[in-house]
Symmetry: C2
Subunit: 149 residues, 2 copies
């Protein structure tokens, strides 16, 4: 269902939580407690976010995790790719090697355009936006169609 994995979902919850208190070092245990996500799972997610340079970790007693940069500079796209790998709707957009159908496939180019579109949409939303109080706009304008007309 074009669904994000649960882990990614958790990651956004965790990061939102951390963003509210963005200079404080949070331990995995503490985060598990406030988010009510099981500790081993929290740890796993935090590690992935460190690898993606979204978080910075400190080892040892009083160690823990902090945001590596301002919430405004952490895009949703970054978080998703940290947890799930590259954002691409179709297999052929990632692996350079042609699929079996590639020869007669005239739609690859257009898929990559759609991927690009979605990637841009996710890139433009940041952690700061996520924790902002919800505003439901009258209309959401997406001029993708203009590309074709």
């Amino acid at each position: 269902m074009l669904r994000l994995s649960k882990l990614t979902d958790y990651a956004t919850v965790i990061l939102s939580d951390m963003a509210k208190d963005k200079t404080q070092v949070h331990s995995a245990m503490e985060i598990a407690a406030t988010t009510r996500i099981a500790l081993p799972t929290v740890s796993k997610i935090l590690k992935l976010l460190v690898n993606a340079e979204v978080l910075i970790s400190t080892r040892g007693a009083k160690g823990g995790y902090v945001l590596a940069r301002e919430p405004e500079n952490i895009s949703v796209a970054t978080v998703i790719s940290a947890l799930e790998g590259p954002i691409a709707l179709t297999e052929c957009s990632i692996s350079q090697q042609a699929c079996e159908q590639a020869a007669g496939c005239g739609i690859r180019g257009n898929w990559s355009l759609i991927n690009q579109t979605i990637h841009n949409a996710l890139e433009s939303v940041t952690l700061a936006d996520l924790i902002r109080p919800t505003v439901v706009p009258d209309e959401v304008l997406i001029p993708v169609s203009s590309l074709y007309r």
Copy 2:
């Protein structure tokens, strides 16, 4: 990886194929042959597309499938939801019932906005666009960020 399922991918290939010859009735066997996708799999996909009213089927000898409407009027969003169900990145955007974290979750509203954005992007691209010769534009403009500034 925010990936489409293989079946959805196949569906776009199948539909593109059918769109090239949009008034002709195609049997499942014929489609399997030209797309090189296994027959039982093709059948499964075609049935789903009939249920979603993207295709119209005719039973019996000389029966088969045709597009239910013009390729311009079949959106990628429709195809995706036919195969995968509602397009929603997060669980909570679909099931009305609150998740465990819901109480302290301040990001649900913003997720639904992102969902909406992506849905609109996918809604604006049609089967007709998919089979069009690829054009790579200089820039893809997505003003999602403008919603927040």
